[in-house]
């Protein structure tokens, strides 16, 4: 187990280091760095000052070394627009994003897992078929389309839900729904397939044969075995939620979180903010994936021995 832990941590550190490196060189190789650091219409005096400030007169290896050095000290640069450390800006935005994502994860799990098991157990029933159709449509619906249509109906036509901000629980309804839909749809399909696999297993026949009630079969035998499969998918989903979903939804509902910050940074070409954003989110995703791997290794000894199925 210890070997596995050390291996996971090394791989995690290596991936993160590679990302830092790639992001650094990608931004430097794309032309004169000062032009997007400082924008256009700069006089020669301040231009040379900025070049000295950012150390751009030195060769690229020295710059890279200095960059790594400052990261190690926890300095990730200053926003070009707001002239504040990017770390401070992110700290202000973390909580709303976590609230939004937490709400979406909760809604997804609460809706998708029972619905998925139901759709598998009653798979011939019309309601289960209707559910799968709804899941298919939900999966294909882009979240910004759903969010826009929700806004139109509930904020502008019916005027019962607020369109922006996050001060009351009513503010959460539309963003959380719009963010969750894709994930509910995909988790529902996964849960259904996982349950169908379990339903075909021999141990269920044994359980029924020895007189276990149908309710107990579903809640005890099926649910537990399904959850093992579902756990892995949930990990992947969280990754998607943290990144893609939240960015769009926050931007639509003026949710003052990290996604909103990143989109505005991209539009205003506030490049240090994005650079840190990529690193921070990548670090979060990698940590999460490593934790999931470790959880797996704890549950399933085969993983520890490196025999994890692809």
């Amino acid at each position: 187990m210890l070997t596995f832990l050390i291996k996971s941590l090394c791989k995690m550190a290596l991936t993160l280091f590679l990302i830092i490196t790639v992001v650094f060189f990608a931004t430097r190789l794309s032309g004169d760095a000062i032009d997007f650091i400082a924008g256009e219409g700069l006089d020669a005096q301040s231009r040379s000052e900025l070049i000295t400030y950012y150390g751009l007169q030195e060769d690229i290896v020295t710059q890279y070394w200095r960059y790594l050095h400052s990261i190690a000290q926890g300095e990730f640069g200053i926003s070009l627009i707001e002239r504040r450390p990017v770390t401070t800006m992110f700290r202000e935005r973390v909580v709303p994003t976590l609230q939004l994502i937490g709400g979406a994860i909760l809604l997804t799990l609460v809706v998708a897992i029972p619905a998925g098991i139901y759709a598998a157990v009653r798979r011939q029933h019309a309601s289960a078929k209707g559910m799968m159709t709804a899941a298919f449509i939900g999966y294909a619906t882009p979240n910004f389309v759903l969010a826009t249509l929700l806004l139109l109906v509930f904020s502008y036509w019916l005027q019962i839900l607020p369109s922006a901000g996050n001060s009351t629980w009513l503010h959460y309804l539309m963003p959380v729904t719009a963010l969750s839909l894709t994930y509910i749809a995909s988790l529902l399909r996964y849960t259904r397939n996982a349950t169908l696999d379990v339903l075909g297993q021999d141990f269920l026949r044994t359980a029924r044969a020895k007189g276990v009630s149908e309710r107990e079969v579903i809640f005890y035998h099926v649910l537990r075995n399904t959850l093992i499969t579902v756990l892995s998918v949930t990990g992947l989903m969280v990754t998607g939620l943290v990144s893609s979903g939240a960015v769009v939804i926050e931007s639509i509902f003026s949710w003052r979180g990290i996604g909103d910050l990143l989109v505005n940074a991209a539009i205003r070409r506030d490049y240090p903010v994005l650079q840190f954003g990529v690193l921070a989110v990548a670090a979060a995703v990698i940590t999460l994936n490593t934790l999931i791997d470790i959880a797996y290794a704890l549950i399933d000894p085969r993983v520890r021995l490196g025999a994890r199925a692809a």
Binding site: T141, L152, S244
Partner: protein, 294 residues
Amino acid sequence: MNHPALLISSRRQWLGIWYDAGPLVRLAIILGLALLAASLLAPWLAPFDPNQQSLLARLRPPVGFERGIAGHWLGTDELGRDILSRTLHALRITLGIALAGATIGMLLGLTLGLMAGLKGGVVDDIIAGIVDMQIAVPFTLIALLAVAIFGGDLLVLIAVLGISGWETFARVVRGEVIKMRGQPFIEAAHASGASAWRIATRHLLPNLMSPLVVMFALNFSQIVLLESTLSFLGLGVRPPTATLGSMVGQGRDYMPSAPWLVIVPSLLILLLTLVVQLLGDFLRDRADIKLRRR
């Protein structure tokens, strides 16, 4: 590619797809072809120039509603541009971008997957490392960073979308190649002195066609989604050129008074993603069944 036997088999495959399809998938095929035709014929179908402004006919609703103008079937936008014409041209651009992006992703993933599978060892490790990185950095962030560095531009958008899907292709191709590598027909090719290039193009590629088609279809639907999302956020092509996503994004400002600005392109995006997803899923299931039968 122009071998006569291959042409016949591909024609048979097209017929087979129609034969295997249920009523829903057949409807999706017909709708898909209709959307494709509409996008190809957009310059002839569109009643107006998509960027022609008319300040006297701004924000008019579709025909049949109060204040609607005859000729502007789906109404006009804030600059008096015809929505039907803009939507048709936007569909054309959306599909074009998605096609280019999915093709780039496929070629990139195919090449790297073949290399990883055939060479193994260090090459495989390096490519696996790049895949890990791509998985760790959520794609929307890569796109945002690219836009911040290079600016919003059609070519940047296509390049970014192209690198969004390569890793799926690479992983699947690598797995298939490793599976095939030990089989007698590859060993025979090796023994008769065929080069790696020849083995890859003549022996492996034909066997990869079926998974490639399926992945291309699935990736295409993902790219349509991504493109419309980025354009919606204002990070895609530059105005006045419109894609479906950017029409929804810009129409948002007029939502209370002129909801048709967002409803028309939203519904078309919905239709497009549903059709593309349905066809992709169908192709995937169909390929799976064949794999199981073997």
